[in-house]
Point group: C2
Chain length 113, copies 2
């Protein structure tokens, strides 16, 4: 799988519209999970593996490379961490935390009736 670089062809778009590149990236297994888990602070490879609970090292490494290429994460002495851009992105999606709770609640209600 090639890195969904904005401007090049990506899944869902011939034109490489940035949003499509982004959706392609975020739609890959574990990409969102990694970003979400990194938000709570830098982590080493093995620690990140644990935060993600069940990711295989192969895939973790693959995603980390992609995310790095796309400047969403970076490596510092402390290990992997969100880049300023990554933080930006996280801030956009962070309301999903709250929203998902309400959603889960609503689904539960619904299944009762």
């Amino acid at each position: 799988m090639t890195v969904p670089l904005p401007g090049s062809q990506v899944r869902g778009s011939q034109t490489g519209k940035p949003i499509m590149a982004l959706l392609d990236l975020l739609g890959r297994t574990w990409a969102l999970g990694i970003i979400w888990n990194l938000h709570s602070g830098p982590a080493t490879f093995r620690e990140l593996q644990q935060r993600c609970e069940k990711i295989s090292p192969t895939l973790l490494n693959t995603r980390l490379k992609e995310l790095k290429t796309l400047a969403l994460i970076e490596t510092k002495h402390a290990g992997y961490q969100l880049s300023p851009q990554g933080i930006d992105l996280f801030e956009i999606i962070s309301p999903l935390g709250r929203w998902s709770s309400q959603w889960a609640q609503a689904l539960k209600e619904e299944s009762k009736s």
Copy 2:
């Protein structure tokens, strides 16, 4: 693949925390793309297929079922459309449109230097 119902075990979490169920769902190929494309209005199956440019009917159908089970989309006479919850979700992620452009720009600058 089973539907990532909040409360049950999902990819990335034994406990079924809603956010994990959501990230599992959104992390599946095309899930975000479908939501994004539906935002511009209801669509029939075939039309949605075109909006997504390259999705296979098999997968489109699979995702639609999942999204429907999870109450993010619904079917009306006009075809498939976002449910109120789906709209809610879209509103959270809609800033990604703008953000992705800046991001693409930044990546371009960076690759120059």
